[in-house]
Symmetry: C2
Subunit: 341 residues, 2 copies
């Protein structure tokens, strides 16, 4: 069986069916991706345990698929989608069907399996951010893809199954529903006000200050007004641009700095919580429809960090609303170091 995208008209969300990640019904309690076992497949020296790398930042004179790398990107061994094949869409009664084409890659953030991302020095974190940018630029050339999304699952509560620091890249032939919603609202806001929604939020958070956690030359770090999760964080760039891939080296250094600070503060205040890191960048506009053609002024790339304590339950799964026990103003006080930990 090959992967498929499916959508029904009631929920209108794309679901990726990934039979290659399937196990027998009795095994559903096990993690979705087998753990590292005795050998860490992401450690330096174990390069033969992963598919061939598609990108790496290396020390001279090391060679591909050998040790000597600082950051290494490989195809996911258990991909949700298949990279090879044509894209075909068809109706199935009232439903939508699309071939399960997509890229699913793993960014190995450090050769050292014992270090979390935030324990790396700023230049090493910037290397990871450069790898993200370079993979976006490469995957952007594939005309089958509409959207690229990069995320990180840390800890079992956030869906991680491997401990070695890594992030994941997916390139999708569809625009997922939460992304589409953000784009449409950002566009409507811009059309109504001739101001970017992101600029308005940035302005509000700087002026109000109660949810602000940190700031450097290029970025603002804050707890969102309607945080869905306790201690949720957002990182907004001050330079308004739809594409993360537009970031030059100095901006990525600044991002590495603020990201490291954010993760270190979360780790300190909450004792290494599980979290997701979510990189939202505009859909690939080269082949996007007219609807999304004007994202330059109205949409801005951004990062979200969502600490994960309790499982999302029936309230969240059925309603798309959230219950949060911590006001962002209080979380910000803790993260700024003003409240006692």
């Amino acid at each position: 069986m090959t992967p498929e995208f499916r959508r029904d008209p009631l929920h209108h969300t794309w679901v990726v069916f990934a039979p290659k990640r399937q196990r027998r019904p009795q095994e559903f309690g096990a993690p979705a991706m087998p753990g590292a076992g005795p050998l860490d497949p992401f450690a330096a020296g174990n390069e033969r345990l992963t598919p061939y790398e598609v990108f790496a930042l290396r020390e001279d004179p090391s060679r591909p698929n050998e040790a000597g790398w600082r950051v290494r990107v490989v195809p996911n061994r258990y991909p949700a989608m298949e990279i090879e094949g044509p894209l075909a869409s068809k109706p199935v009664g009232p439903y939508d069907h699309l071939s399960g084409i997509g890229a699913h890659e793993v960014v190995i953030e450090t050769p050292d399996g014992d270090r979390e991302l935030e324990e790396l020095p700023v230049p090493a974190i910037a290397d990871v951010l450069v790898a993200w940018r370079e993979r976006i630029n490469d995957l952007d050339r594939d005309l089958r893809f509409q959207h690229i999304y990069i995320f990180k699952n840390v800890g079992p509560t956030a869906g991680a199954s491997l401990g070695h620091a890594h992030s994941q890249i997916v390139a999708l032939p569809i625009i997922p529903p939460l992304v589409e919603g953000k784009l449409l609202r950002a566009r409507a806001h811009y059309q109504a006000k001739q101001r970017s929604l992101f600029a308005d939020i940035l302005h509000t958070e700087r002026e109000d200050g109660s949810r602000l956690v940190a700031e450097n030359d290029s970025f603002l770090l804050f707890c969102p007004y309607a945080s869905r999760f306790p201690f949720e964080l957002a990182i907004f760039p001050k330079r308004h641009h739809p594409d993360y891939a537009s970031c030059a080296a100095p901006e990525l250094q600044d991002l590495a700095e603020v990201l490291r600070f954010a993760l270190q503060r979360l780790s300190s205040v909450l004792q290494k919580p599980g979290y997701n890191l979510l990189l939202h960048t505009a859909p690939l506009r080269r082949r996007s429809t007219e609807n999304f053609a004007s994202t330059r002024d109205d949409y801005c790339w951004h990062l979200e960090i969502t600490p994960r304590f309790n499982p999302l339950a029936g309230f969240e799964v059925g309603l798309g609303s959230f219950i949060n026990t911590v006001f962002p103003e209080e979380a910000a006080r803790y993260l700024r170091g003003e409240a006692k930990e």
Copy 2:
């Protein structure tokens, strides 16, 4: 601090801030609701450990808040929202703020703490379904509420923290985003086709048959075409009606029968998985806006059952899309008993 609803224009989802459920930052790993402890507060004889009941089905001559009940509904001791107070809405910069008014009740499904819902006989399950209906009819009289939602979290992966069989009722002063999306799509479908989206799905699933699991006089049980979770199930009524509360006794008996069968099959095939049960009924139309006034023909109440194995991770949280490893056609074969368990 009192509860609040907040919404930002980027995510456009209502978040309930529930400070009364808050703990200190160090305690975020603990369950959201304290466990039963040595005494089960939901057991017969322990009625004094809960707030006063708002509804019960009892044997004569038992009295309120004493033993003798079959099903008992009490306010949640750790409510997400407050039941008392006026409803006030205001802008906060670019954001929306609404007072945290709402009902949050617990339906204790059986006096026996050792029995799961599906282990009860059909008439006892029907009692639970009657309690849901009666609470909806009562809460419907409160003009502050827009929407009533009933759900059940079973097992730690699905967000449950108490083992004693129970469901939860929330009455909300807002229409949550996933509900709004369903309503708008159902209306658009009806306007385009002069047929209900629900009737079209019912027709498709009966005709195709590959995802059908069971059927009785009043209900169809099937695995949805775009199931978000492995072994997800939907129960659609054959009588098209927007309101669950319109169900008379015979229909609730049929629902109890099909629900019991569904949960028993899941329990058998997947060895008692965690799951959420989600009851979707139309928003309270008496004071709804013109937008939702015509739900009689275009919207139909329905039940969803979502088995929960792995935590929702960065892919799902950031995109609103899902990765599912099991095709619904295969899940249906297992649930019908045709595939080897």
